[in-house]
């Protein structure tokens, strides 16, 4: 796991998973251990223990307890998840915006300036038999800066899963959805399409390249996108 990577909203996500896992293990233990003990203790023994207890067919106190206590636990879990959800869905004010289009099969990433004008475009294309991305197909973002991604699709439904940030959102034609993430450690990470979209689904990926802010600024000004665009045109004319 990329726990050493400090990424958002992944950090909160990992906390939430830990909370759930603790609760689940405790509930499993509280339920399964007595269950197994009963199975061992109250075993049928010819001549000795041939019929079970016929007196107790229920116990209102117990039954009320195991209705009320779980209700409280699940309401707590849902409310906790709600608070995290608000953080996940609210991009910080200083976030930069990218717009990503899904298509069969690949991603087109537009970098927008403050006025929403496209200043650079990266195409991440489908490789039917490998997971290698050329340098100019990598989606580059600055480290330590929140990125808001507006998502939509050009054909069928896809999705945009930023693995290090543990966040997904579908890309739906005719709609613009969004998510945000921030990755603090430079490096290369996976982005996958997680909504089924046909033959190329399992190879619809992109590499997310996180670089220091200065490097990103230089990259954004640079002309590497000319190459990508030329490649896109040849692909599309095929």
């Amino acid at each position: 796991m990329e726990q050493q990577v400090f990424a958002l909203p992944a950090a909160w996500w990992f906390d939430a998973v830990k909370v759930w896992l603790t609760v689940a293990v405790v509930i499993y233990a509280v339920t399964a251990i007595p269950g197994i003990l009963f199975i061992m203790k109250y075993r049928y023994k010819p001549g000795e223990r041939e019929i079970g207890d016929h007196e107790r067919e229920g116990h209102w106190g117990l039954e009320a307890a195991w209705t009320i206590i779980p209700t409280i636990i699940v309401l707590f879990l849902a409310t906790y998840s709600f608070t995290v959800f608000k953080l996940q869905r609210t991009p910080p004010k200083d976030a930069m915006t990218i717009k990503v289009y899904g298509f069969m099969w690949g991603f087109q990433t537009d970098y927008l300036d403050e006025n929403g004008k496209v200043i650079k475009t990266v195409y991440s294309f489908y490789k039917p038999d490998n997971y290698n991305a050329a340098e100019n197909e990598k989606i580059v973002v600055p480290a330590g800066k929140p990125v808001k991604a507006l998502l939509t699709s050009k054909d069928v439904i896809h999705s945009f899963y930023v693995m290090p940030a543990r966040i997904t959102e579908d890309m739906v034609p005719g709609r613009i959805t969004h998510l945000w993430f921030q990755i603090n450690k430079p490096g290369e990470y996976w982005i996958f399409c997680r909504e089924f979209c046909g033959t190329g689904h399992s190879h619809m990926f992109a590499k997310l390249k996180v670089v220091p802010q200065e490097e990103f600024t230089a990259w954004l000004r640079g002309d590497s996108n000319g190459l990508a665009r030329k490649k896109a045109e040849t692909k599309e004319s095929l």
Binding site: Y28, T31, Y42, T168
Partner: protein, 538 residues
């Protein structure tokens, strides 16, 4: 206990003509069951090929197109044939009239029609095996993809669902009417078998839910072949409409699948703990609570689909609340074990295994319901692991438990005990190896519906463990199947091998053709299906 019934031949000694044209609920039940068991084996084999393909990165055995076909077939057939038809069509038909002391269901001819409509759907599934007719849109069939050429013949997908739907609605109308109108005098709401409560609850869901699924796929059919715009965003339609209408049924369907299983557990546990079912009343409330809640939660399958945030939060709460009535059932089963005289026969092993696995499946449903966690694991193999725990474990073990439990009533023979136990341990071990590590690799990020994945070392190792589990599981199913066939020539069964007070055990094994004879059975005034008095006869 009851007057001798006229010596009637067992129901299954009938000519081929009588089998085909039969309207008898027992024969129809058996035909349903045999059809779905065969489809289970085929879909399971598909599952093993899927499993094999994922063992290593790269494409080893099948092309991505063929993988998509296998996965579509695996999901759809497992869900609609194995997890619905086997216990509702099969056991529901066989047991419902016997448990309420009726001669047959309310509309026997409609019942036969239900089966033949289901059989028609089975034939359509066989047609998709022909190259060129592979459906590759997954069991969920989301548009716009399912309306493109890449997805295969959409029409077949839609009509399979239509035929199954007709069969389910007719069946639901039939069962509900039967329960309301045909109980023997003395059987009331509060002394009905839990299986019957669960079955009727499940059929209420079917009645209200199936038309919604039928509507969703009909709109898909019209969009693809007649050019309507339901799901076409360019002309005012919306692809999310499909998902809403689809999940409005396809979430509740999971309780259609699991409620009868809860019914099986509730029949088998008291029998082999030799004591009454604990908390019968709260069990009944829990069933109907689940039925009611199940229609309020469908957005949890669309947490990342782009629906408004408020809808996600509301349905996150409603979803997680289902843990409460479900928990009530689990705790009541524990209460039943407490103070029992527990006998670990094959049906009991399967039932206990099923309950403990359901517990894992249920607890791994909780993070999916917590919307914040779901944003990170939706459409990953974690989800797949979650539902295999509930479906491939709880539901499957539950059906196998039911087979071994009512085998004497259906065949007049005892289920082979040794092979039964062996198959249980193989299936139990294999399935845990497979599906636990599926959840782990999903937590690490592995997306679902991926025949291929990047060569990340932990992922590869986790997939290899799963495949080992899959093979053990497959052998277990094979052993069970052999046992089931061998048992037909096995030891003869008495009328009531488990010494159960429940009505279906008061007639001969195998069940006579006319059930209880000409008159409804006499039910004592204080009848209750779980009054376990005498020790069993074995």
């Amino acid at each position: 206990m009851r007057e001798a019934i006229p010596a009637e031949k067992p129901y299954f000694l009938a000519s081929l003509r009588e089998w085909i044209f039969t309207t008898d609920h027992k024969k129809i039940g058996i035909m349903y069951f045999v059809t779905s068991y065969i489809f289970f084996l085929v879909a399971g084999l598909f599952g093993l090929v899927i499993r094999a393909e994922q063992t290593q990165p790269g494409f080893q055995f099948v092309s991505p197109e063929f993988y998509n076909y296998l996965l579509t077939g695996h999901g759809a057939v497992m869900l609609l044939w194995w997890a619905i038809a086997a216990h509702i069509g099969g056991f529901g038909n066989f047991l419902l009239p016997l448990m309420i002391g009726a001669r047959d269901v309310a509309f026997p001819r409609l019942n036969a029609f239900s089966f033949w409509s289901f059989f028609g759907a089975s034939l359509l599934v066989l047609l998709t095996l022909i190259p060129g007719n592979h459906i590759k849109m997954m069991w969920t069939g989301y548009p716009p993809y399912s309306a493109t050429g890449d997805a295969g013949p959409t029409a077949l997908y839609v009509f399979i669902i239509h035929l199954i739907g007709i069969s389910s609605i007719a069946g639901a109308v039939n069962f509900i009417t039967t329960y309301i109108k045909m109980r023997a005098p003395g059987i009331g709401f509060w002394n009905t078998n839990m299986f019957v409560h669960c079955l009727i609850g499940a059929n209420v869901i079917q009645l209200i839910g199936v038309p919604s699924l039928a509507g969703a796929v009909t709109m898909l059919l019209l969009d693809k072949y007649l050019g309507t715009n339901f799901y076409n965003p360019a002309k005012g339609g919306d692809p999310l409409l499909y998902q809403n209408v689809f999940w409005f049924y396809s979430h509740p369907v999971v309780y259609v699948q699991v409620l009868p299983i809860f019914g099986f557990f509730s029949e088998i546990l008291p029998t082999f703990a030799r004591r009454p079912l604990f908390g019968y009343t709260s069990m009944v409330f829990a069933v109907w609570g689940i039925v009611f809640l199940s229609f309020e939660v469908w957005i949890h399958h669309m947490f990342v689909s782009g629906v408004p945030d408020w809808a996600r939060v509301i349905m996150s709460y409603t979803t997680i609340l289902i843990a409460v009535p479900t928990g009530v059932k689990i705790f009541n089963w524990l209460g039943t074990l407490h103070g029992g005289a527990i006998i670990l026969r094959t049906p009991m092993l399967y039932a206990l295994g099923g309950i403990f696995m359901f517990l894992i499946g249920g607890l791994t449903g909780i993070p999916n319901a917590m919307v914040a966690i779901d944003l990170g694991i939706s459409d990953s193999l974690f989800i797949v692991g979650h539902f295999h725990y509930v479906l491939a474990m709880a539901v499957t073990l539950g059906i196998l438990a039911a087979i071994t439990f009512w085998y004497p009533k259906a065949t007049g023979r005892m289920f082979p005990e040794g092979l039964g136990k062996l198959s249980f341990w193989l299936i139990f071990a294999g399935a845990n190896l497979l599906f636990f590590f599926q959840m782990v690799v999903g937590m690490l990020g592995n997306p679902r519906r991926y025949p291929d994945y990047p060569a990340i070392p932990e992922w590869i190792m986790l997939h290899q463990i799963q495949t080992v589990g899959g093979v053990i599981l497959g052998i277990g199913v094979l052993v069970f199947t052999i046992a089931m066939i061998k048992g037909l020539k096995g030891e003869k069964a008495p009328a009531n091998p488990w010494q159960s007070p429940s009505l279906e055990w008061r007639i001969d094994s195998p069940a006579p053709a006319n059930n209880f004879g000409d008159k409804p059975p006499k039910v004592e005034p204080d009848y209750h299906p779980y009054k376990y008095g005498a020790p069993p006869a074995f």
